[in-house]
């Protein structure tokens, strides 16, 4: 249970999403009838599907996974082949254990160099989409490779692959390595004993041949990369936090220009405006992109001993109940609360608006989520996407800004 549940403390089946209760009950009933384990509202394993499946060891390297949600590619961060499907395809997969898929185009994106301190997987993917466009991945399976990826912890790889779909990709994938194996080891559903031994042998073979041919290759040097933020309503509307809202002349064609113009109107921004001068009135840390334990730790590191700027509504919604408990065990909830954040139960929450809880028209939210579409977080709400550390820093500053601006 993720999209439909409320995340207020003390929640029940009653959700603010219209007809949500009907949906929850129907799901529960169908799961029981079909003998499917449901991580229900009060189950300690409950959470956002793309957070839960890796953390429980249900998703493993080398598996093929589908789920009727567009961010299923997240699991590619473990080296699984995973992609989002529609509900008719989900029915087909359940009924036949198969899906017929045309071999996608294959693209390799190499991130060379090492990330600077305070620059994260989220900044990598925002930068990539900003530079090559929201359909730059054009239906392909993308392997993320290179030095920066090898250095990236598994949770960062999940963040990266989570947003491959925002790049227009069919899915994203990272070859499993020792960090992947260490990540999976000992998780509740992970293989054990001899099955574990044969698993790690099999996973060791999951890498691209040196002679492999890709339909397209992209190389990005990341050493100089600064924290990124979205300024508009498409994922290709990206700039550095110390950058400016671009001029319409920078658009590559007429359509992109029109889209930029609409976006600037919707976002209430003007070309040339410095993003650092843009005040925010809400901050959201949550979602399948950036609400794992490492994300909360990094954000808490920024928030510790500081306070959210006055007039800002700030929320933290852990990606799963498991993440929430682990964070509480480390005292992160206290850091968030002391800084002025609400501390919620796990779920999709304000990552998207479905007629239930949402931000208000005109609200300007800095958000660790993955989509900045018009109305995504509430009718008329303006979303700026960024990493959890940048969200935390902006919440303290009261305007868009990075950790470096705090000093």
């Amino acid at each position: 249970m993720d999209h439909i549940v409320d995340t207020m403390p003390g929640r029940t089946d009653q959700t603010r999403v219209p007809n949500g209760q009907e949906f929850i009950r129907a799901t529960r009933k169908s799961a029981r009838a079909a003998g499917i384990t449901l991580f229900d509202i009060n189950d300690p394993r409950q959470g956002i599907v793309h957070v839960v499946s890796p953390e429980l060891g249900i998703a493993l390297p080398g598996l093929t996974l589908v789920c009727p949600d567009s961010h299923t590619g997240t699991i590619g961060g473990l080296g699984a082949l995973a992609w989002g499907i529609g509900s008719t395809e989900a029915e087909h997969a359940l009924a036949t254990q198969t899906l017929i898929v045309r071999r996608p185009r294959q693209t390799r994106v190499r991130f060379d160099g090492s990330l600077r301190l305070g620059v994260t997987a989220k900044d990598l993917i925002l930068h990539l989409i900003g530079r090559y466009g929201a359909d730059g991945g054009a239906g392909s399976a993308i392997e993320f490779a290179g030095e920066a990826i090898r250095q990236l912890p598994v949770e960062g790889r999940l963040t990266l692959c989570n947003m491959a779909v925002e790049f227009g990709a069919w899915t994203g994938i990272v070859a499993p390595d020792d960090s992947t194996i260490e990540y999976v080891r000992g998780r509740p559903y992970a293989p054990e004993g001899t099955a574990w031994d044969s698993a790690i042998t099999a996973w060791g073979a999951l890498k691209t041949d040196e002679t492999a041919h890709f339909d397209a290759e992209i190389a990005v040097e990341v050493g100089g990369l600064a924290p990124q933020v979205s300024w508009g309503t498409s994922l290709q509307h990206i700039a550095a936090t110390d950058g400016v809202v671009p001029s319409l002349d920078e658009a590559e064609d007429r359509h992109a220009k029109e889209a930029m113009e609409r976006a600037q109107q919707y976002m209430g921004l003007t070309p040339g405006q410095r993003l650092r001068d843009v005040p925010i009135n809400a901050a959201f840390i949550g979602s399948c992109t950036n609400a794992r334990l490492s994300d909360l730790r990094e954000a808490a590191g920024v928030l510790k001993g500081r306070k959210v700027s006055s007039g800002i509504r700030a929320l933290c919604v852990p990606g799963s109940s498991t993440v929430k408990r682990a964070a509480e065990a480390e005292g992160l909830d206290t850091v968030f609360r002391d800084a002025g954040f609400e501390w919620r139960e796990s779920g999709c929450s304000l990552c998207f608006y479905a007629g239930g809880e949402g931000f208000k028209p005109g609200d300007r939210v800095i958000s660790s989520t993955n989509r900045n579409f018009e109305g995504r977080q509430g009718p008329g709400t303006r979303t700026h996407l960024a990493s959890p550390v940048t969200v935390a820093a902006s919440a303290i500053l009261g305007h868009i800004g990075s950790v470096a601006d705090l000093r």
């Binding site: 989002g84 395809e89 254990q97 227009g168 574990w196 007629g355």
Partner: protein
């Protein structure tokens, strides 16, 4: 569509790029656990001045005659990107759209279309614009013909060919159920699964 897969209809131009499924149907419009009743919510944010009260926005193309009877949509690149919600396709279908012509589509959206008898036609941007320009001049006179059998579109005196997989083409033409079609190969699936359980004991639980 006739039995030979040919139909002719009014084409409505909506040439924005990156039209996502949230725009095609906002989440709040997906109220029930059902595939029907969604046409009302189609493009709700753009189609109504006030989504609550449902006052039509006269500037939105699908509110303008004769585009309010369109069966073909001309769209910008990356149409249907974003959320996997199949409701986007159900809403378009129920409203009356039978084919969408665009330079590219969100990949889940394109599969969802094919599973619901909606034809996604990929056509280069210049051609989409040529069609859109003539359609704007005379929507009734300049109708578009889609011929699924020969995988082509006819417009004025021009013909364009588009790609569609053999299986998908047959599914649409003959109205076949994808599950029934796959289960014709049930033996192969069983055989694979038995072998896989031996090859990858760690993958099965």
């Amino acid at each position: 569509m006739t039995n030979d897969g040919v139909f002719r209809g009014i084409a409505a131009p909506l040439l924005r790029i990156n039209i996502d499924t949230d725009a095609i149907i906002p989440s709040r419009e997906m109220k029930h656990v059902s595939k029907s009743g969604l046409a009302q919510g189609l493009f709700a944010n753009w189609r109504y001045l006030n989504p609550g009260a449902r006052d039509p926005n006269p500037d939105f193309v699908l509110n303008q005659a004769p585009f309010d009877r369109a069966s073909i949509l001309l769209a910008g690149a990356n149409f249907g990107c974003g959320s996997s919600r199949e409701h986007a396709v159900w809403a378009l279908r129920e409203w009356g759209i039978r084919a969408i012509i665009a330079p590219s589509f969100g990949s889940i959206f394109a599969s969802n279309c094919l599973n619901n008898g909606l034809l996604p036609v990929r056509l280069d941007e210049d051609s989409v614009e040529v069609i859109a320009a003539s359609v704007m001049e005379d929507p009734l006179g300049n109708q578009v013909t889609v011929d699924l059998g020969s995988r082509s579109i006819h417009f004025a005196d021009r013909t364009w060919y588009f790609e569609i997989g053999e299986r998908e083409q047959q599914m649409l033409l003959r109205g076949l159920s994808p599950i029934a079609l796959t289960l014709e190969s049930a033996d192969l699936i069983d055989e694979f699964e038995a072998g896989d359980a031996k090859r990858r004991p760690w993958a099965i639980r």
